[in-house]
Amino acid sequence: MNRTIVLLAALVGTTAASVAGPVAPIALSRGCPASFALEQGRCRLHTPYQDYASLAGAGVGGLKAGLPAFRDGFTPAQIDLGRYLFFDPVLSATGQVACASCHRPGHGFADPRALSVGVGGHEVRRNAPSLWNVGFLQKLFWDGRAHSLEEQVQGPLYGEREMGTTPGKLEAALNAVAAYRDLFSQAFPGTQSIQSTQVYTALAAFESTLVSLNSRYDLYAHGVHDALTTPEIEGLNVFRSFVARCGECHTPPLFTNQQIAVIGMPEPRGHALDPGAGAVTGIPGLRGGFRVPSLRNVALSAPYGHAGQFATLRETVGFYTGGRGHAVPKGEHLQLHWHIWEPHLSAAELDRLVDFLATLTDQTFLPATPTAVPSGLPPAT
């Protein structure tokens, strides 16, 4: 059991956030999470994939291909502080919504609800995407509009229908909690008053540690060929074949090529077409385009699609053999990605694909959910 958590639970107890009383000093972790090693005071990722070459440094390839550039180099204290913040609803305007409310650790750090729900019970238009391996991503949000973790966290924090706060309110809420004043001064020595930018850094630090690269698939990739069953290998072969073409965009080792793709998924009933990256870039040809999501831990993160349109993986893989453009609303002329075609996959092949996707599950480094958070509010789980 983690002694920090025990200590904190005892100290904070059931104190209400707004009246959080004086709290004795809490020690943030001085060690890095698993898979990270401390080097000159900073946590650096270690993974066997760092031993593989990556063509043009792009981090895409086959089984033994290197990873793309990664965000690491945060301190153990920043990472641990980010963990408390991630679960603490004090970050939202109402004190009811935490990052973890939609990015649920038990659901692949994604939202089991098709459309995520923010402050005041407002439904947003998209499904909160998984955060596993998010430190490798160059484009964030479904529409790819943010280019760093720090930029990304401001989206939900200040989105009116998400956490609904403002930088001023956020800083005031945190500065009102004595335990946070202490924790921020540990993570950011010299802090007199908590700054919103420090919140972004700490959340980015925590998110960067959500690394999942130790699945049974990874064992197979490293050369342990009995790590996968025969049906799973059949699924891998369908996945990488040029008939299904899954691997052309969901490219190993991250199972995303980090590009924007227009594939013409259906919208939820009654919803207008989500223009996605088309609205962000102003490029008409990207209308309806979204970031290719990583498939790491995909079996945990149902439902699927930018608006959670598909309840199961089987339904999702079925979309790709439903016919090019079959779900594009009438009157829309999307410039569909060339890999969307008519692969005519059999029912058995779709089943094998689902079998294979489950081999990408790995939560070895799932961080602990705090039993209590510094605000004293009930932590999201």
């Binding site: 990270f36 063509l55 895409v60 390839g61 040029f242 008939v243 959910t369």
Partner: protein
Amino acid sequence: MNSKALLSAVLIALVAAGGGYLYARRTVIATATAPVESTASALSSARGKGGGATPGSLPEAGQAGGHVWVVKPEESIQAVVEKAQPGDTIQVLPGTYHQTVYIDKDNIALVGVIHGSDWPTFDGEGKRNDAVLYSGNGVRVENLHIVNYKGNAIMGQAGNNFVIRHNRISNSGVYGIFPEFAQNGLIEYNELVGIEDAAIYVGMCDNIEVAHNEVHGNVAGIEIENSRHAIVENNTAYDNAGGILTFITPGLPIKTTFDVVIRNNFVVGNNHKNFGAPGSIVSGVPSGTGIIVMAADDVIIENNFIRDNKNAGIIVADHKSFANITPDPEADPNPDRVSVLWNLFDNNGTDPIKEVRALMAANLTREGPDLVTVGGGTGSCLGAPGTLKSLNVGSWGTCARKSSADIGSYLLDQPAPARPITAADRGKLIYSSVCAGCHAYNVRMVGPPTQIIQALYAGNPQGIADYIANPTKKREDFPPMPKQDHLSPELRLAVAQYLLTVNSKPPATAPAAAPSASR
């Protein structure tokens, strides 16, 4: 028939016309009735003076000295792949195989044995996806006859240092030969027909040679896409919709194409109907086009025989001008520094598409083009301006370069590294990335604490190395440990040695993110 005489005659023709090697190839192979481990030497002798040996960086027969496995029809090739070790050769005897073979290990040669005119035939019967998939490095695929697959005949993903040689491929899906994400590979002496995209498609690769292939009746013959340092030479591309293409295709994770040499090819009569799948980029290739450069940079086109392509001999285009292109703000849309040196052009542009006709009208000419440019791009040049009908090349200069003779090969002298050693201390790397997932220093996680393991194995790292290769269950209250035998014996010892040095001094305390009962 006196095959020797024929061979000599063909060689004379080869020298005279710069081609004919396909006849030479067939003659040489037809005389081989004993099993061969590679056709490399036979083919090299047919090449004449211009040919060179395969560089030492590529896998050839006899180099590894591995075991030779022989597979007969009705037997499973995959079962043999699973038994084979790096360095082994798998010979496939003539006959028909309804199989998909995947090679996820290094240095395996899959080589057909040809008796007279009898080849080993892989028949996908229109229902199998791919004939050969590989992800290993140093893979060689030779002498296979591949028909009726849905996806690709031969597809590689991130397998470096490959050789794909002397295969006959027909009616096999979207691409015939498709290496992707690879460095250092040779594709030679293959014949491909009836492929609905590019017959030979080099996608997101570096250091590639495509030589002495015959491609016909495909939508595109040979395509070099989002790749660097590629030479396409001595090929024959005829009766495709487009002969030889080099593109930057937008929306891919590797976003450049440069240093491509297209030389000494026959690019003839590429007037086939475009039967590309709706929505595919290749379906936008105008039928009747010999060579297309789309957005690629530093391309040299030299000494090709470009004839009877009814739309145009060569098109140099940007992204905007090309149909079916998804925009990509991160890719440069313009072809820059394209050098069209001396080529032999004849009878191209007899029936151009309407966009080309519009350009002809704007330039007050009725002659269809040997070379037409559309859209942006800078720094391009002509080597021999008086020898071709060019259209819209007003911005092009005269090339300083007279030939590409200084570029012998882009293949590497040494194999592309499969595993660059990036970690200074690999024992520490494995400990941090693998062991630490279950073992913390002094608290219980999934497995027992490192401190306890240190006490048990003090001074005995080999004991740990042996145990982790094949763990036995030792403790009732812990789950069994998974085998780590994918690590080499040296790596297992290195990680064991590192594990014994891990100490308790801060900050090596229990990680904050250790799994706890509360999750």
